[in-house]
Assembly symmetry: C2
Homo-oligomer: 653 residues x 2
């Protein structure tokens, strides 16, 4: 069975990239690619260790204050370059430099830091893990006696037995995602362009120009981020809340949020993905959610909290997951078929490939250890719950890595919510379902989050000619680092601030409460799901498979016009605003290609990478500003005319 039908569009996209890659690799052809062992240097891991601690501190503090964690991938690449470059320049002067700094080494650092600091997020210190604690439990009215306080030992143990599973589950998928499916992984691609641009040798003309364009848009995007910051003094302030399509559309999440990142992502993603995302947004936020909202009081109680999975939120999460699972499982099983044929050929061809038996064996061994160990940490989490999770996890990891490759979004927390609900309902209220749900969420999130993060890294590695083997080792080391650094950093906070997790305090950890509340609702079981939700889920699951079947049945010519269910599902839960950003990026590229195809092909990826990376780097200083308590001075607020006159009257008096 041929794979052409589905990926026609992606291939076209990729050819363009390859042309670029080709011309880029021509630039690098005089530079020897170091062996995979030489890509792993001591200095790289020293720098990674330092950066990991830095990033873990940043992520942890954000976990415990706002709960909103930006992606620090790009910063990892840039700071890694900066540190090693300074070091090698220093050593070079003294004539002692043995090994020059290569882009592969740069990628290794980036990968290691991402793997390590990712655990500060997926470890759930601001969500499920801390949601188990007494401090959070006693703020609820129900299940206040179901708690498990943090302790350094069990947190490290827990992380060690769950964090490596994502890595082993994604390694065999690496070739499928990047070589076969040719997924874009926009952030990974952008980071690779950035790293390549740092290491572009002198004398390469086109590459020089590309680097210049990248630098220009990088600066623009960074400065735009800085400018935007000044106007975000409060909630709903700033350009990210600009109701550019009107207030009504804004309420339904239709607006252009001026995010340079997603405009860039839109330029990297194939047109059909952008269109699918927009279609999904219109279908969900424009049609389904408003319609379901009118059934309030009928299909589900009208007095629920906005975050309750028993209300509208439930439809959003479950329908999105049904659609994603439908598409993801179809492609998961399809890909395993192909890879059986092709793997034999490519295995020998691809150097430094990690054998599939190795990763499967690794997964099984760790899963076994984990299944045996976890019930000792969480008594409420029975071994058969864990076994079930581990049976389904690779498919979900595949889904998340696949969706992330298409749209740049990782829906780790959505899968986590699914686990809370399913395991919580299974365990039930009487058997400590709250803690079981939260623990299951942790197991699930660690796997799926790692899977998408590391796939992004593999894409970066692919585009910088880094060895998969060195990447894998770097990820292993990074994950191990993270399993120790993150809990330690959390422990520092936990010991230093006694009111950690208390609403209104300096460190309220808002999402810890949110996750706990979800777990409390979860134990009520499937019967508490809002009306018709399951039927809708079946429908969307089936629709996803049907769309895939139609796509495969159609010829190449028409298949590329069939929207992608996975991409459609992403805005179901998140909102359509990023779809607008992406479509704008897509439109810009489309017009550019109409005007000057050659230039658009040569410089499009550089522009997109600049936009993504500039915005990405700004997250670092902006996070530091937030942690230092420096707040923006101005709020750019958007009020309806009626509210505005009220406010004017209030301010005037």
């Amino acid at each position: 069975m041929d794979h052409n039908g589905r990926d026609d569009d992606r291939k076209k996209e990729d050819n363009k990239e390859e042309e670029n890659g080709l011309s880029l690799e021509r630039v690098f052809e005089n530079q020897e690619v170091p062996s995979w062992r030489n890509q792993l240097t001591l200095r790289a891991f020293v720098v990674s260790f330092v950066l990991s601690i830095l990033f873990s501190f940043i992520v942890m503090k954000l976990n415990l204050t706002t709960g909103i964690i930006p992606s620090l991938n790009v910063s990892a690449g840039l700071l890694g370059f900066f540190f090693i470059k300074t070091w090698t320049k220093f050593v070079e002067r003294s004539g002692l430099l043995k090994q020059p700094f290569t882009r592969q080494e740069n990628t290794v650092i980036q990968t290691c830091v991402v793997a390590s600091s990712g655990i500060a997020f997926s470890g759930g210190f601001g969500s499920y893990l801390f949601g188990m604690s007494e401090a959070v439990a006693k703020q609820s009215t129900e299940h206040t006696d179901a708690f498990k306080n943090p302790s350094l030992s069990w947190m490290i143990g827990f992380l060690f037995v769950v964090s490596f599973l994502g890595l082993f589950s994604v390694v065999p998928l690496r070739k499928v995602m990047i070589v076969d499916f040719k997924l874009t992984y926009p952030s990974g691609t952008a980071t690779a362009h950035l790293i390549n641009s740092f290491h572009t040798p002198a004398g390469a003309k086109l590459a020089k120009k590309q680097v210049k364009v990248l630098g220009k848009f990088f600066s623009f995007s960074f400065l735009w981020g800085v400018f935007q910051w000044f106007y975000t003094a409060g909630d709903g302030c700033g350009f990210a809340s600009f109701p550019s399509l009107g207030l009504k559309a804004y309420e339904n999440q239709f607006f252009f949020d001026f995010s340079a990142t997603y405009v860039g992502v839109g330029m990297i993603c194939p047109y059909i993905i952008n269109v699918s995302v927009l279609l999904g947004g219109i279908l969900s936020w424009g049609l389904m959610w408003p319609l379901i909202d009118t059934k309030k009081g009928d299909w589900y109680p009208a007095d629920l909290k906005a975050s309750s999975l028993h209300g509208l939120q439930g439809y959003k999460v479950f329908i999105a997951i049904a659609l994603i699972l439908g598409d993801g499982l179809y492609n998961f099983f399809k890909s395993s078929k192909i890879s059986y044929d092709e793997q034999q050929r490519t295995r020998l061809f691809l150097k430094d490939q990690i054998p599939t038996w190795f990763s499967i064996a690794g997964y099984v061994v760790i899963a076994a250890i984990s299944t045996a160990t976890l019930p000792h940490i969480f008594h409420e989490l029975k071994w058969y719950y864990i076994l079930v999770i581990y049976i389904f996890a690779p498919a979900l990891a595949f889904c998340n890595a696949y969706g992330c490759g298409l749209t740049d979004w990782s829906l780790a927390s959505t899968y986590g919510k699914l686990a809370i609900f399913v395991i919580g309902a299974w365990a039930g209220a009487s058997h400590g379902g709250v803690l079981a749900g939260l623990a299951a969420c942790g197991v699930m999130m660690n796997i799926v989050s790692t899977a998408s993060d590391l796939s992004q890294d593999f894409k970066t590695g692919y585009l910088t000619l880094s060895s998969p083997r060195s990447m894998f080792v770097s990820q292993l080391i990074g994950t191990a680092m993270g399993c120790i650094i993150s809990p330690s950093v959390f422990w520092l906070f936990f010991k230093a601030f006694k009111d950690l997790g208390t609403t209104g305090s300096q460190y309220p950890a808002p999402y810890a409460t949110v996750y706990r509340n979800m777990a409390i609702l979860g134990v009520e079981g499937f019967s508490a799901l809002p009306k018709n939700c399951l039927y809708l889920c079946y429908g969307f699951f089936g629709a996803a498979i049907l769309i895939n079947l139609i796509k495969d049945a159609l010829g190449k010519k028409w298949a590329r016009f069939i929207p992608n269910p996975m991409a459609m599902a992403i805005p179901f839960y998140i909102g359509s605003y990023f779809a607008i950003d992406m479509c704008l990026g897509s439109l810009i590229l489309f017009i550019w290609e109409k005007i000057d195809k050659v230039k658009a092909d040569a410089f499009g990826p550089a522009v997109a990478s600049g936009l993504i990376c500039g915005d990405g780097i700004w997250t670092l200083p902006s996070s530091i500003l937030a942690l230092a308590g420096v707040k923006p001075p101005i709020c750019m607020k958007f009020l309806s005319r009626r509210t505005n006159s009220k406010v004017d009257a209030f301010l005037g008096s």
Copy 2:
């Protein structure tokens, strides 16, 4: 004495324009320029009449509601084109078309409409004239018995004896301003580019490209205006209130207000003018006004209204006028010297020139009639007040036309305030100084406003090869139309709405009260001027002359780096925000010229004209929306962090 020293920079600018003009006129060289009589067609005046009525209604309603009047010049040109083109196409089809529609005829319409609808503003129906009425008078606490109610007869009479003076005073200056000084008149230039673009014959390649560029930026600027509109639901809302340089700078009028018009104006104005405007803004709003503000309670009473000329406002108006007068008078007397030399040569050379003796004679005759008639209309306005005004008026008209040529700003209302103050103080409270001041304001504003408006038109005429004589006739006819249409339209409003001018009503005519209050304060005389204001005025008047002397003394090489006092004075009263816009335009052009001089020279004026005209056209629909009571839905508000948390608390409760 040579004029090169001063205008070196302007000439450079102008050469560029001429290159463009040359290539443009080459495009038109196969089109015969109609004789001046043939430029004046009946159909043109029919269209002008219709448009004048339309525009007078719009301006009048704005006069009486918000008091803020946009410029409708560009709309006049565009609608004129649209009407006649439709008409000629229609007639052409029936084979009866005798005379094709030319750009000169288009200019004639534009000029006529501007002259006519300008009177709806300068007639003071929303300011000084209506400020005399009983309705406004009885809202004050002082001088409530000094009023003169509107009546159709005296208003028409008044307008007829004062409105033509500006025209006659500007005609002899036309050559000086446009041919000798080569002033830019950005709006006039932009309108000319627009008109030329409408009439560009087929087959002209560069011109076609220029028209395309103009059209692109026209659309962009128009759509930008539309987009901005949606966010201006209240005072201080929208992009025009964007504190882009911070709230502190915004309070002192330093911000980029996203006005496409002034970015375009900045691209047309020479660099030194842009720099001068910014320097003036920094000197006044950045330095002097904050310093003077610290003397509040010492130099002037602390409890004054913000609009009182006895406080900070007084410094702003008088110092600006002193600087303008210093520069203006210097150039006025210098220009009369040169023109004596050169006029002999150029008079015969320039076809259709209006002889100076004619305009001087016209001015003297009308001034004499006016001096004799006005005291019969306003008993408080003694004939010698009028005589004094008419002796000084040409110089002030020159100043305003000159300043407008440099920076596109007409300061007519500032000169009007000067007249209120000087004549009011002279007459004194006991001799009906309030009405005398308001009437004097009318006399002054009509002259200086007409002078700048018509100079803009002359620039348009110059760039469209329209005959000065046909322009003059069109302006005469337009002015006469305006003297009848405007009072009639006002009369309709006055008769239809009984509560006209009452605060809080549908037609509050806010500026009528403001002008009356200024007149009430004016009668307190010069002694009531804030402390040191006169000394500062002397200083700035002297400084302006000194700067000119230095400029003339320096060689060409250095003179172009000397800032222009007139341009520096404009932001003194208005604020620096437009200086930021202009400097941005200037910067864009500068960078463009660095990157590609040839392209920048060829397309710069088209881009600037597009920006100015697109924004200009939007004023028409936006005015109509305002009149129809359609209000924008959203307010984009800018609050300090502190205020924002207050507002959030207010809205939350």
